[in-house]
Symmetry: C2
Subunit: 363 residues, 2 copies
């Protein structure tokens, strides 16, 4: 039985105005069903890990929503960070808490807000990673690239192992030229932030590379079920280093030859923006318009001479699109976005613009 | 003192979703100020006609709104049609009512939903038409064309008169080739539906060409202030011919050499669609975006890399436009429209689509 850790943070700025800091991406039904990305992530893990072995780490602002979206998740398995500290402290704390309960646990960490098309292949891939992790390697699942994406970090494969390969190197987001090179070489996979390891192996690397963080999370975990958990958490948490798990642990572990990678080819999508969302969800008509109906009002969209648009009618309003192609139209009760699909990445800039113009209330 | 008749009807379908059958174009503040097109029309006529001499003919569904938008207009001057009958019955009735009060009246008829930039030139033009009308001609004011528009009817000038010209011919909306020919010839003006005549001259032509309609409106007018006005109006009105003033009277009168025309060059716009509206209203920024803020919320629009868009934030929402040019975005509480400015004419088709798909409630 796999223990799973799901860091549920981040607001998904490029999905504004649907995604807000108060109602972030992972809580939204962007799965083509009524399930949120978080719910889909938990459901996808059901073959590997029952609710008793699933842990979600989230912020103070979203703990209640997480608890209601995941009614089967035991309350002690919802770990609430006093403040956002990036992924390393969150994952480290969850692992320390799991180690207290089961020192021999095998733990998998998976993002809360990604889409995966083929659940069977995903499950089989995780099981291969668990196999390799049994030897003490920190395993990553690398996504087989479908193109020279510059928006992701890359993983360079090293020598072959009985299962998968050693991870030779983590690569930062490349420029286009480098990305083309990576993909054509066949030696690179996308870093999707999916990890599988033995909890003792992970904590040992944490102790080696980030001793202060290790000491802190072990102390927190040791007293997790004691009456002064909140007092202790509130005192210690702010002293932790704000850093991602890649920088804090994985890159150093890779240099030490302690990281392995297995390829994942299960239709992965990070739902980074409305364009990628439109490309992964099924069209609503035969001319490629994708309607993401989060409000459940039909017919919410009337399209005339309009093709390949991504329309999100998330208010009680009818949306009429006439003679426009490849556009993103997101309609929410207090804000409306119109932009071309190929500018969907820049929605973040518009959100920055809103903040600087004193409209943070909308972000 | 000029008597003025303002037929206030039509729903302005191409301005959907802002314009609705229940809240039509002429009642909307599309003037770049807080005034509605109807209010702007009445204000524009103030130099020629005081409220006591102004008459508005409107439908049962809009009488109350007209009365409230024009508080100075005497109640007897608001003529309410029992049912829509196109422009001839409306204008004929108003003229008959005016004739009862002043048989020597000079009457001007002006649409309720057009924009005019230069009020002084407009006033002077109407005064020239009044001069010519004194001889008994039915005068039209023709707009000097600014381009080969195919959306308007044209007026062909005949021989010169002391003031203006005889009208040789009314021309239906032409195709592009004909329109180019018309404009290059210099003999053609746009038919803007502006008329000035002596009430007796008009009623004589009505009697000659549409005797039944003449008899009916004269009877209605003769008993207008009697207790049984409503009973009589309800009985007679449905028997009237549903026809425009051009077909009912003006074309026949032109053939008989009884119509004159003076050119108007005062920045006329019929506010036909959001594209023309965007071209006549002042831009809200230095990159040509036109924001028509009918709801009065600032800043309602946040534009980034967006040029020459016409944005109507008519709900309480913020509209973000990113990387789009020459687009129309109209945001109302229950419906949203997105279309290119060069497709603005086809909004009518979208409204038809809504009606056929059972969403007449939105039209």
């Amino acid at each position: 039985m796999l223990y799973t850790v799901i860091p549920a943070g981040g607001s998904g700025t490029r999905l504004w105005p649907l995604s807000r800091s108060q109602n972030p991406k992972f809580l939204l039904p962007l799965t083509g069903s009524e399930h949120s990305l978080l719910q889909a992530t938990v459901n996808r893990l059901a073959d590997l890990s029952d609710p008793d072995h699933q842990y979600v780490v989230t912020g103070t602002g979203h703990a209640a929503a997480v608890a209601r979206q995941l009614p089967k998740l035991p309350e002690p398995n919802i770990l609430v960070e006093p403040s956002p500290m990036d992924s390393a402290p969150a994952i480290a704390l969850a692992n320390a808490v799991i180690a207290e309960r089961d020192p021999d646990a095998v733990v998998g960490a998976f993002a809360a807000d990604h889409l995966i098309a083929d659940r069977q292949v995903f499950t089989a891939t995780v099981q291969r990673a668990m196999e390799a992790a049994a030897d003490g390697l920190l395993m990553t699942i690398g996504i087989t690239p479908t193109g020279p994406e510059t928006g992701y970090g890359y993983l360079r494969r090293g020598r072959a192992l009985p299962v998968g390969h050693l991870l030779a190197e983590f690569k930062e987001k490349p420029d286009h030229v480098a990305a083309v090179e990576y993909v054509s070489s066949g030696d690179y996979l996308w870093n999707a932030g999916m990890f599988v390891w033995r909890v003792d192996a992970f904590l040992a690397e944490l102790a080696r590379q980030r001793p202060a963080m290790h000491t802190a999370v072990r102390e927190l975990a040791a007293h997790w079920d004691s009456p002064d958990r909140e007092e202790r958490l509130g005192r210690i948490w702010p002293t932790l280093e704000r850093i991602s798990i890649d920088y804090a642990v994985m890159e150093g572990a890779a240099s030490a030859g302690k990281v392995g990678v297995v390829p994942g080819d299960f239709g992965w999508n990070d739902v980074g923006d409305f364009d990628t969302l439109g490309s992964v969800l099924p069209p609503s008509d035969d001319i490629g318009n994708v309607v993401i109906d989060t409000a459940g009002i039909e017919p919410a969209v009337v399209a005339l001479d309009a093709r390949r648009n991504v329309v999100v009618p998330a208010s009680r309003r009818t949306v009429g699109v006439l003679g426009v192609d490849d556009l993103v139209v997101v309609d929410t009760p207090d804000a409306l976005l119109v932009c071309p699909r190929d500018r969907a990445q820049d929605v973040k800039k518009l959100v920055d613009e809103l903040k600087t113009s004193g409209r943070s209330d909308l972000t």
